[in-house]
Amino acid sequence: MFDVVRERVRQGYRTCRYPALAPELPERFLGRPRIAAAPCPPGCADCLAQCPVKALELRPQGPALDMGRCVFCGACARTCPQKTIVFSRDHRVASRSREGLIISSTDPGQQPGKAIPLFRRSLRLRQVSAAGCNACEADCNVLTTPVFDLGSYGIDFVAAPRHADGIAVTGPVSENMRQATLDTFDAVPDPRLVIAVGACAISGGIFRDSGECHQGVSALLPVDLYIPGCPPHPWSILDGFLTLMGRSR
């Protein structure tokens, strides 16, 4: 007993005060991309060739980047001869709309979108891993540790879909998980939400061209919140949830 108390004191208080205080992110973290309004050199399409997930498109006014496909590897930014594409350290990437994930020089990504007042104080989610690689799942799970303390925001991952306000789907939805994903959604009472966590769930991510996957939950169900990343940083996921609840700053 004495050991338990002593260790408790030694381990200290570690919960972050988010969103009041900005989270500490590593120097090399790649967050929300920005695209400068500079015309590309004629004929240059180096970034397109480097992208493993075809997240870039060349428009007349420059490249447009789809965060819903992006795995945030930074290959495009490294190859760009004039630094048109830059990844900032802003972890806030979530959006209520699919179009809000597309970033170009004329449109830095739309506002995250309107909150749903009904869920302002309480959000219960059933997490469904549908062929996720366990990175998105792990970064959802970590929110329940004392650092993030998910419960203090009124958010919880629950065991039964009957107790849930919606599902948080990770992974590209393999054919083998299609029915189970739809069944889980069907078991959630109305009004219900679908949250796509990670590039795979939004667009299929790196598995977009696999014949065994369905290009994400977006291809099967209407999605209420998109949280891009591969995997999204836990702070990005929490920011997404709080955006939906109308409690993000």
Binding site: T145, F157, A159, S210
Partner: protein, 497 residues
């Protein structure tokens, strides 16, 4: 044909055996003390598929590769070599090659067959829809769980045959995570290849991408940059620290010992954040490349890493000792889910589970990567094979990995972090073997006439070990399943690929 795990071979130099001779040779090798590293189908043409077996010695030494002519059936080896039963089912499901006399040929991933089995078109099975082992009798009942589980966890289907609380048998049916990674890798390498490696099992991003790099370097005869190689090894041990800490916390949580659960959840993140210092991503994505590492570190970063590691290791030690020295925890861990040394050897366990059952299997010792001394991370082993042993192996490895990282960062070789690699040579085969945090990761690739991947086989440690979990639960209480499961903590997507 014998060959070094760090070199490549031309499979055409090895005798192409008939199905019968192939089975005889593989079993003779296993009888000599080899174990199965990889076993897979190799397409020779659109309708011709042969078998390849890569066998690993129990002690350090050369690997042995055997391959067969294109065939449609061969004598099953599962009745004499239990560790092959899962592999034979996999090859049958993928290629329609029948192991004659296999005890129970069921699908393991429930995917569409890669080709029609020699003209006969098989319908795609529905996931989890197969015959299951069933126990009959009064008061015997069946508990079915999944694919969607109660927590934030990957999907899988479990069937328990129970008599009261006692589990007579557990059958595990997977495949829900199948994404067809191996097929996506053939024809590569391309811009996607490293990303697919990092996504094979997200919690083992470093392990799988390291195995791929080792394979790539063996194929191209490249010596990786010493600095990059050391940074990769640091990242690999950081991955081990993070996951072992998380597992030890989760084990404590499953017996209701909450202080360790809370602390370890946070400390796991501290280790992940150290990996993020290296490359910006908590799971180490984008750090490794064939030839070394894409990113380098400077003195300030090294100092920061060493400072954080010392603090996180001290915290982890305190949190884990609290639990392992608690009598109530010991009472639950002891004798729970035991696997004997013989059983572990027979079903081909690797990694933490094997070492907890007294098997000295650690690729860091048996197959050290280029530039590594075989003993610079000593092997941690226990004998009892129960949950306590699997916890203790992890606990020992926390100290040994942390100690290694401190030494490595203290004496990081000078120079560039990566060397450039040439294009892949045609018609070569090589392996990449890395001790990931769960156990031995084995990648095998063969190149075609143009130097592209004609076949790429990934064997995640979970592929060897899932059956071990089923075995561990025999005769245990069903309420101990979460604890046993966590003590293995196997990957669903690493198995399903």
């Amino acid at each position: 044909m014998d060959f070094s795990y760090r070199e490549s071979v031309d499979l055409r130099d090895a005798p192409c055996l008939s199905g019968e001779n192939f089975a005889v040779e593989v079993q003779a090798c296993i009888a000599r003390g080899f174990r199965v590293g990889a076993f897979f189908g190799l397409p020779h043409g659109p309708e011709d598929v042969g078998l390849v077996a890569v066998l690993c010695p129990e002690e350090d030494g050369n690997l042995c590769v055997l391959h067969s002519r294109p065939l449609t059936s061969y004598p099953s080896m599962s009745p004499t070599c239990a560790e092959l039963h899962w592999f034979e089912r996999e090859v049958h499901e993928q290629w329609g090659i029948t192991p004659e006399g296999h005890p129970w040929l069921k699908p393991i991933r429930f995917h569409a067959p890669a080709r029609s089995a020699f003209g006969e078109v098989r319908p795609r099975p529905l996931p989890g829809q197969t015959s299951y082992f069933a126990v009959q009798g009064p008061q015997v009942h069946e508990v079915a769980v999944g694919p969607v589980h109660a927590g934030v966890i990957e999907p899988g289907h479990f069937r328990f045959q129970c008599l009261g609380e006692e589990v007579l048998h557990l059958e595990i049916s997977l495949g829900f995570q199948h994404r067809d990674i191996e097929r996506m890798l053939t024809g590569g390498p391309d811009a996607r290849t490293m990303h697919l490696m990092e996504n094979a099992a997200g919690d083992t991003s470093i392990g799988h991408s390291f195995a791929h790099c080792a394979l790539f370097e063996a194929l191209t005869r490249t010596e990786p940059a010493p600095r990059g190689q050391m940074l990769r090894r640091v990242a690999l041990e950081l991955e081990r620290l993070a996951n072992h800490t998380g597992d030890l916390g989760a084990l404590a949580g499953d017996v209701g010992f909450l202080p360790t659960l809370s602390y370890c959840g946070r400390i796991r993140g501290d280790f992940l954040n150290m990996t993020a210092l290296l490359c910006g991503k908590r799971f180490g994505r984008g750090l490794l490349c064939p030839g070394g590492t894409k990113l380098d570190v400077d003195e300030a970063l090294i100092a920061e890493l060493r400072k954080r590691l010392a603090a996180a290791h001290r915290d982890a030690r305190g949190a884990v000792d609290l639990c392992l020295y608690s009598n109530t925890v010991r009472a639950r861990y002891d004798d729970c889910g035991p696997i004997s040394t013989n059983a572990a050897r027979a079903c081909g366990l690797v990694g933490v589970a094997a070492r907890a059952s007294g098997l000295a299997r650690d690729a860091r010792v048996q197959f050290p990567v280029a530039g590594a001394a075989p003993g610079d991370i000593p092997l941690s082993k226990c004998e009892s094979g129960d949950v306590y042993a699997r916890a203790c192996v992890r606990s020992h490895e926390l100290d040994r990995s942390a100690d290694f990282i401190q030494r490595a960062l203290n004496a990081l070789p000078e120079g560039k972090s990566a060397v450039s690699t040439p294009a892949l040579p045609p018609h070569r085969m090589a392996v990449g073997i890395i001790e990931g945090w769960r156990g031995e990761i084995c990648h095998v690739a063969l190149t075609d006439a143009e130097g592209r991947f004609a076949a790429y086989k990934i064997v995640d440690p979970s592929f060897h070990n899932w059956f071990g979990l089923a075995l561990a639960l025999r005769g245990q209480q069903i309420s101990d399943f979460p604890l046993c499961n966590k003590s293995f903590n196997l990957s669903y997507c690493g198995h399903d690929l």
